[in-house]
Symmetry: C2
Subunit: 588 residues, 2 copies
């Protein structure tokens, strides 16, 4: 059943499952579970949701992805940027934390899942290409700054709001007087500890004789140490009484079965946010999955990934979760811990399930400031301020698109930021595509090669002008080609033959074909014959189905050399440069 | 003052103006004026406006274009498709013919003028490229069908409505019982006469000894004959009493000075229609202007054309007109009648002005059915049903875009039709751009040429695989390239070197650069060196500003031949096909 196996990759890897693989997967699952518990709580909080929602979003979605996804090691669950987008989108219909807000997050997960499934079935994964790397990089950097800033209030123990950077900063500044000192101490200590764990602990462990991979995995469990230490501190010194905010009672329960509201008005409002969130999540997830797959010479199928992630989000919508995607940090941990198949993901899901059932009472006194610290340390690693400089150095249009993304994301919001980036990239791309490179060429003496007259000493003829276009001819540049030809005609009054040299033309669409016919007609009106040379095979096949070959006043030549030799030879010796154009009578 | 002359082309042609030119321009102006009078009335009626508005729209706009436009012979004024779009757009805010509707038409002209001016100043003319030829052609055909159908009610002398084809047909069918026989006689006779004038009169005149050009110009004045004859018939037989609707009293006046309403709500509602109407008008006008300019080896400047048309529409907004553009029929008449400079346009404006002042009383008894006949005959020549078949034959994606445009225009409306066409073309373009042509190549024996392994008998090596990409590397295909490489790696377990051959790569944007770095990293993880060959000069210059040359595990080679020879030579003899991949240990 190869067709079924294509949509259900589990059928393939499941058959070869053995004891060694099982052991490896179980070890990886244990490590990932430990890492995921604080992360899931923290991201749910970032999204404005109760902490248990983060745990629920890490159970059913993982299993759904394990069944339908093509990556062996991708770990699906809540991630920072998607959590921020959920906060913004659900926050536009209800206040964060309210019952309506939680309902909106479920709808968002279901809608996002359906969009991904639909894109997968229609094989529309290529639309994710509209997010260029500079736009994604800019968006992630800007989101990282927004997220880190939004967590400062929890570190300081104050109330503050705002959805844009200026609003957040204003709100923080207005309320900084209310800072709660014990909270600040816990928050600052956790942040400093987690930064040290990230940067300083691993080298220390390695120098103490641990293997680098083990040292790395130990360092990655830093957040659990911070969670344990700060929770114990709260209990030991009764810091709750001093105003330190804690997570509080988390219900001990299996993920609830939820049915997302079917409210057409709500669906309509959430459609665009869900679409953006789906595409961003997909792009992130696929690039992580591809990177990991490449290390083992495996492949993932991006269109099937849409189905895997779509199933994961639908599962999140029906089990009290919120939008999820393949996360970078957890996937790398899963990979490094030795996960071999998606079964590791399923075991992780069981681990989190057990945590949701039995560990939650231990988390009641966990300070919010510690979770904020884990978020800040995680997202600041996403902020890359060197990238814009590099890109400015390499490509101006890419830099403009990146700057537009960062600026609009910080100053207006996450959704307008993504849209601004996509539109800026697209307009700049279309602008460049509408004016490709072209050159007037002449023959290099004693060869059959033709080169740009502006860069080389070449043989030309005032009667026979050759234009070489270095791009496929499409509707985006068809009008440009017409103008280029008119310009060339106006600049070469003695011209009798115009040759379009097409070695780099990979396609000619219907608009460009019509432009070639127009050019041919206009040139004929001006007494000039129009020729094509070096037309590629597939392009020639297409042209043969059109009227152009019959209409053409000139010919289609196999080689430029042959055309140039024949046309210049028939012309006789070239007249002196100043001589009157002898074709003027034919014009008009 | 070359800079000033650039924005005011009149400074250039005005200096060389002499008596011969004056005579030619005056003769052309007289002929165009005669043709324009019935056309202007008819198109104003089509747009749902009082007939005099058509005359006003043919006075100040022509003069504004004469000052700022770059075409010597383009004739600006009301045209069929733009009139239909005006009816739709202004009709969405007020009932046709009402004072609010007329006010909306003025706002539409002003807005459209401002949009065109802004696009001209920002040199955004390339955005018009988004309208591919099949989309324009489909839109004009569909609009022609809509317009002709909308005029049937005037030919039948009945009331009918509807904005989409099915609605129009239903409404006509429901009211056909009210047909007014005298109106139908006049309408049918006018239509038949005008068709005959178009097809039969010219050959007759030519065979009677007239020169073809004169015969053509005489045939083009057919509408004036129909107008005169039917007006006389109405007066002679007092057909108004029998229910034949006539134009009625037209005020005898100079164009009024009008100030378009500045109502932000109205401007916002009309913005998108004005934008679409501007771009469609611009595309039509530029293609007419280019065709005529080419006949005299002149050039037009599309960005300056935006300014010329923008000025014309602003002028229309302030002098009681409605949106205008360069019309095909009138421009050809102007050209054929011998117009040499935009002064001919100015003289035409004076002619129409005199008509508005003195001839309007003669038009009071002109039957509406005759105007409807002139519209039907004019627009049916725009309907091209052979084109879709031709395009289907040439290019499937272009046909899909055309079909979407025609279908949506007929069944939903003109604005959704244009938008559907633009989006369909764009999505199909992006789809193709996201998966360009690429081939694995090998060396043709005894040559330095490399060709597709699937099409030619070539020399390959299991350790050294070469991929040739026939397209620039951009963000649209960056992810495709990553996948292609991963696929190739998975399919060639013995690979030690991967060469990307770039003779057709005209650019590498920042996304593609990052993908190349990612590919390089992933290949290194799998123990494979990554090489580039035949990188073009400008692309190499850009790469030199990036980190890629330092990061690259392999090298950037000048020629593919050198790279292949060196890498396969260093490798020793190729192992037998079945031998175990000797780089597997390096993977993962």
């Amino acid at each position: 059943m190869p067709a079924l196996a294509r949509y259900l990759p589990v059928l393939e890897w499941g058959r070869a499952y053995g004891t060694t693989t099982l052991t490896n997967d179980l070890v990886a699952a244990l490590i990932v579970t430990i890492m995921l518990i604080p992360q899931s709580l923290a991201y749910a909080m970032l999204a404005g949701l109760p902490p248990e929602v983060g745990l629920y979003a890490s159970i059913a979605p993982i299993i759904a992805y394990a069944l339908f996804g093509t990556s062996r090691t991708l770990a699906v669950g809540p991630v920072a940027v998607i959590s921020l987008m959920t906060l913004t989108a659900a926050g536009s219909v209800a206040p964060p934390g309210s019952a309506d807000f939680i309902a909106a997050a479920l709808v968002l997960a279901l809608l996002s899942g359906l969009i991904l499934l639909l894109m997968g079935v229609l094989r529309l994964g290529f639309l994710a290409n509209l997010l260029s790397h500079p736009v994604i990089s800019g968006f992630i950097t800007a989101s990282g700054i927004l997220i880190a800033t939004s967590q400062l209030k929890s570190i300081l123990g104050i109330e503050a709001g705002g959805a844009t950077l200026p609003d957040m900063v204003r709100s923080l500044a207005a309320n900084i007087g209310d800072t709660n000192v014990p909270t600040l101490v816990i928050g600052a200590a956790s942040t400093a500890f987690l930064f040290w764990v990230r940067k300083g602990l691993k080298p220390l462990l390695v120098s103490a004789g641990l293997r680098p991979r083990t040292a790395d995995l130990l360092a990655k469990s830093g957040p659990i140490a911070a969670v344990a230490a700060s929770t114990l501190a709260v209990i030991a010194f009764d810091l709750e009484a001093s105003g330190v905010k804690v997570v509080g009672q988390i219900p001990q329960s299996l993920p609830p079965l939820t049915v997302p509201l079917f409210d057409p008005g709500l669906w309509q409002k959430l459609f665009v946010p869900a679409l953006l969130l789906s595409i961003i999540g997909f792009v992130e997830s696929v690039s992580v999955a591809q990177t990991l797959a490449a290390k083992k010479r495996q492949r993932i199928d991006p269109d099937q990934e849409l189905i895997g992630l779509g199933a994961a989000n639908v599962a999140a919508g029906f089990t009290g979760g919120y939008p999820v995607t393949g996360g970078f940090a957890r996937s790398v941990v899963n990979f490094d811990a030795g996960a071999e198949t998606p079964a590791a993901g399923a075991f992780t899901a069981i681990g989190i399930l057990l945590a949701a059932l039995f560990l939650t009472p231990l988390l009641a006194s966990l300070p919010i400031a510690t979770l904020a610290a884990t978020i800040i340390v995680a997202v600041l690693s996403l902020v890359d301020l060197k990238k814009p400089v590099e890109i400015l150095h390499y490509s101006r249009p890419d830099f403009i698109a990146m700057l537009a993304t960062i600026g609009v994301t910080l100053l207006v919001g996450v959704e307008p930021g993504v849209i601004a980036g996509v539109l800026t990239s697209l307009v700049l791309y279309l602008w460049r595509a509408s004016r490709p490179h072209a050159a007037i060429v002449g023959r290099v003496p004693d060869t059959e090669h033709f080169r740009n007259v502006k860069r080389h000493e070449v043989i030309t003829d005032p009667h026979v002008i050759t234009i070489r276009v270095d791009e496929s001819l499409t509707y985006l540049n068809a009008r440009w080609l017409e103008e280029l030809v008119l310009e060339t005609v106006a600049a070469n009054p003695a011209m009798r033959h115009l040759i379009l040299m097409c070695p780099a033309v990979n396609a000619i669409d219907a608009s460009a074909l019509e432009s070639l016919e127009t050019i041919n007609r206009r040139l004929a009106d001006a007494g000039i014959d129009f020729h094509l040379t070096e037309v590629k095979g597939p392009v020639m096949d297409a042209l043969a189905r059109s009227h152009l070959p019959q209409l053409l006043s000139g010919r289609i030549w196999l080689t430029q050399h042959e055309a140039f030799k024949t046309l210049t030879g028939a012309q006789g010796p070239a007249p002196a440069p100043g001589s009157p154009p002898d074709v003027a009578a034919a014009a008009g």
